[in-house]
């Protein structure tokens, strides 16, 4: 049985979804990061505007290529523009 992707949601992404974390099922071979983002935007339409300005992060590393595959058990984070300080 496939493990889900752990999706972490921060700031406006968290507000749009209404929670800070989701478990998201993906095929055993994984799916491209851009496809996962599209699935999330369809499931949570309010997330779409935030996704357009966010960085995507897999297992702690920023995703540079949109076709990078996200696999079961990965951590997938949505980083809206940073606001520390």
């Amino acid at each position: 049985m496939p493990r889900p992707v752990r999706v972490l949601l921060f700031a406006t992404a968290r507000t749009a979804v209404g929670k800070s974390e989701l478990a998201w099922n993906v095929p055993p071979a994984g799916i491209p990061a851009s496809a996962l983002a599209e699935e999330l935007a369809r499931a949570y339409p309010k997330l779409a505007p935030t996704l357009r300005v966010s960085r995507l992060v897999r297992n702690g590393h920023p995703i540079e290529r949109p076709n990078l595959r996200v696999r079961p058990g990965d951590e997938f984070a949505i980083h809206p523009p940073y606001g520390g300080g």
Binding site: H79, G84, G85
Partner: protein
């Protein structure tokens, strides 16, 4: 290891940062602190900011900034501390500091650290206006203190 990195729920203080920057040849010390401002916002005065952090990537970027500041400016000690969770107005949310033999590199490194922290470290803030209208749980930012 002469850089002190912290992501913590506990209050930050100038005096603790000053102590972290002590050294026999370190004549110039610069500390930048960001404090939560009691600004006017839609729903009244801001009474606090709530900071979230993506802990692992945040510490990784902070480590990189620290190494870069010391390599670029030749400063010997640095601090880069950020508070997470709820920070009341008037309290310190961030301290970036550096110590060197003289003042020019200390100023440059402290400025670099705070500018780059704001630009590249995955931390976010949300305004909290005065009386919290509903008793909501804070968004569980994982907090940690790295080894100094």
């Amino acid at each position: 290891m002469s850089g002190s990195l912290r992501l913590t729920r506990r209050p930050l203080s100038f005096s603790a940062a000053g102590r972290a920057l002590l050294g026999p040849d370190l004549g110039g010390v610069v500390l930048f602190a960001g404090r939560v401002r009691a600004e006017r916002s839609g729903s009244g005065r801001v009474s606090a900011l709530e900071y979230e952090v993506h802990l692992g990537p945040a510490l990784a970027v902070m480590h990189r900034l620290d190494r870069e500041a010391r390599a670029r400016y030749g400063v010997e000690r640095t601090v880069l501390w950020h508070r997470v969770g709820r920070v009341p107005a008037g309290e310190i949310s961030v301290i970036a500091g550096a110590a060197a033999g003289h003042r020019a590199p200390a100023f440059a490194a402290a400025r670099f650290l705070i500018d780059e922290l704001k630009r590249t470290v995955p931390i976010w803030k949300t305004e909290r206006a005065r009386p919290a209208r509903r008793p909501r749980r804070p968004p569980r930012p994982a907090a940690a203190r790295s080894p100094d």
